[in-house]
Amino acid sequence: MSGIVVVGLFDAVDPAAAAARALRALPLPEGDVTTLSPMPLPDGAVCRDPRGIGFPRFTLVGWFAGALAGLALALGTYLLYPLITGGKAIISVPPTLIVTYEVAMLGALAGTLIAGFWEMGLCRFRTRLIHDPRIQEGKILLCARVSGDEEARRAMDAMETAGGTDVRPEEGEL
């Protein structure tokens, strides 16, 4: 999502929601209108996220990768150093299950973390991202990705009419 983004600050949720409705009526696609807010707003309160949340499947991928790694660690250790201890079989099932389970859970945690970061779009340190620290004072920054000057002007009008302040076009990514 790069290019020109029209942004406007709102003091409250209701005017921001009115502005977002006006932007969608221009019409701008739902995915091109978003907010930056100091706390999560319910989906649909101002804007809607049309994209599905896909990263939880990487939790499963991580779990299976971890399980395989744990299994390989346990079995590999038994086979590379086949010493009978405590009267147990070389390949003992319960300890293998325990080690496999622990490493699988570690894999699931790592999978969630990495895929979550990726899907949230974090760690883009070299990209110019749209941001306004004034949201930490309780304001809401409404952002609309536009194409062309005419659409930008209409978007700015819509935000100003709804009560937005410091409405301006910015270059950067959402």
Binding site: D43, T77, P95, L109
Partner: protein, 464 residues
């Protein structure tokens, strides 16, 4: 939910200043505290080096008691670590509205208690420089870790839990680091910018953040349960009278949660007092933690009685001798354990007045922490001291070296917590803001009550 009113009412700027008092310019008191704690840590390190150079003979350990306070402390600290992340995860999943002010402090407690607890097996092994024998890698020794040993299960489980808890702590902190970044200047701005990873609070980020938080909470609960089960199996797998019991894993998990909640109460009461967080950490949080403590005290008593009853009825001489020694050589410790964990604490916790009084609840929690430490010693020592052959029975008392190392470990925990509170948001600012945003005052007849707005579950996306 009238959003416009709430954002104004919350005033995030003022809330941030109130909740980030621990990050304010450093005072002389802070330096003094850190210096004192560092001295105790250094003393502990010095004693450890002395023990390493001289040998384990400087401890009170001797045949047949080869596990002493180091192992008891290991179990204690790992247990203490439990409630932080576990409670936080359970409260997140159940969407408990009172959870927000205790999340961060509890999660940080888990991470630091695990770090300290994890040191004890390394201190205990004697030839400490050979700790890497536990790491599986191809080498010239041709000696691989024995994964059939519960001690290796421990190594794997504790590392998983430590990494999981750190991830849980860090992930939950990202929105707060972003808030801190937007308020900070100078080196702190760079520091928080790097740690916030560019989190800005877009709608996309918030939705995924909540789903990820929920998944982490779901994953961390079974890991926490498994870790203390495995710590219990360290004992239960051995054919030692008093240890070889199928009830040990759930008994250990219960004890861990019990001591952990008590630890959370003490940490929260301290943070409240030191950083003047009375408006945020209210009686509600303490009363609810008190109710949990009351339940866990009852559960602990039940497990202890169930374990005792089977031995009492069976009268297997080896096991009975261990229990008999409780009433002889270990009577003071036994009384501290049973009194602090159940006989005194349970009736006190049943009283609403005690649960609603923060000083009283803190005292009861401190009692429980002491009682649980006594319980750990009661598990480790008498079973070994009365092991099978009566001709080698021998009691154990820790030496000054062991006491010094224990003091150093406690100081290390406090030092890590103090430093963390100085540089990181010790309160879950965002969770508190979100809760304030979702609540409103509503008049019902003659009273005003707090009303909470929750988004409807549309089945599209999750909310943590």
């Amino acid at each position: 939910m009238n959003g416009s009113d709430h954002l104004a009412r919350t005033d995030p700027g003022a809330l941030y200043r109130e909740l980030s008092r621990s990050n304010l310019p450093t005072t002389k008191k802070w330096y003094l505290g850190v210096a004192l704690l560092s001295l105790v840590v250094l003393w502990g390190v010095g004693c450890f080096i002395y023990m390493m150079k001289t040998g384990m003979g400087v401890t009170g350990l001797n045949r047949p008691v080869m596990w002493g306070v180091f192992i008891a402390s290991f179990v204690f600290w790992i247990g203490l670590s439990h409630s932080g992340t576990l409670i936080s995860a359970i409260l997140r999943l159940t969407n408990a509205t009172w959870r927000a002010p205790i999340l961060r402090g509890a999660e940080a407690m888990t991470a630091f208690a695990l770090m300290v607890g994890g040191l004890f097996p390394l201190l205990h092994i004697g030839r400490n420089w050979r700790f890497y024998y536990m790491i599986p890698y191809p080498n010239s020794r041709q000696l691989w870790p024995n994964l059939r040993s519960p001690l290796m299960w421990d190594a794997v489980a504790i590392n998983t839990y430590l990494l999981g808890s750190l991830t849980f702590l860090y992930f939950g902190m990202i929105p707060d680091l972003a808030i801190a970044r937007d308020h900070a200047t100078g080196w702190r701005k760079k520091f928080y910018s790097a740690l916030a990873l560019g989190f800005r609070g877009t709608h996309n980020e918030w939705r995924r953040y909540h789903v990820a938080s929920t998944i982490f909470a779901i994953l961390i609960i079974p890991v926490a349960v498994s870790v203390h089960s495995i710590v219990g199996w360290d004992f239960a797998m051995a054919k030692v009278p008093g240890w070889h019991s199928t009830i040990f894993a759930p008994y250990f998990v219960t004890g861990a949660i019990f001591s952990g909640i008590a630890g959370v109460v003490i940490v929260m009461a301290t943070l409240r007092k030191v950083f003047r967080l009375e408006r945020v950490l209210t009686v509600v949080q303490f009363e609810n933690l008190g109710k949990l403590l009351c339940t866990m005290s009852l559960l602990w008593g039940y497990f202890y009685f169930a374990d005792f009853l089977t031995v009492w009825y069976n009268r297997n001489p080896e096991e009975w001798e261990v229990f008999r020694s409780y009433a002889a050589d270990y009577l003071p410790l036994f009384l501290v354990m049973i009194g602090c964990n159940f006989v005194v604490s349970f009736p006190l916790l049943c009283m609403r007045r005690v649960r609603r009084s923060i000083p009283a609840l803190s005292v009861v929690s401190l009692m429980i922490v002491i009682g649980m430490y006594a319980e750990r010693i009661m598990i480790v020592v008498p079973s070994l001291a009365r092991r099978n052959d009566p001709f080698i029975w021998h009691n154990y008392f820790p030496s000054w070296v062991e006491f010094s190392i224990l003091a150093g470990a406690l100081a290390l925990f406090l030092l890590l917590y103090t430093i963390f509170a100085k540089f990181f948001p010790i309160m879950a600012i965002n969770d508190i803001q979100e809760r304030l945003f979702q609540t409103t005052d509503r008049k019902i007849g003659g009273v005003t009550v707090e009303s909470i707005g929750m988004p409807h579950d549309t089945g599209k996306g999750g909310h943590g």
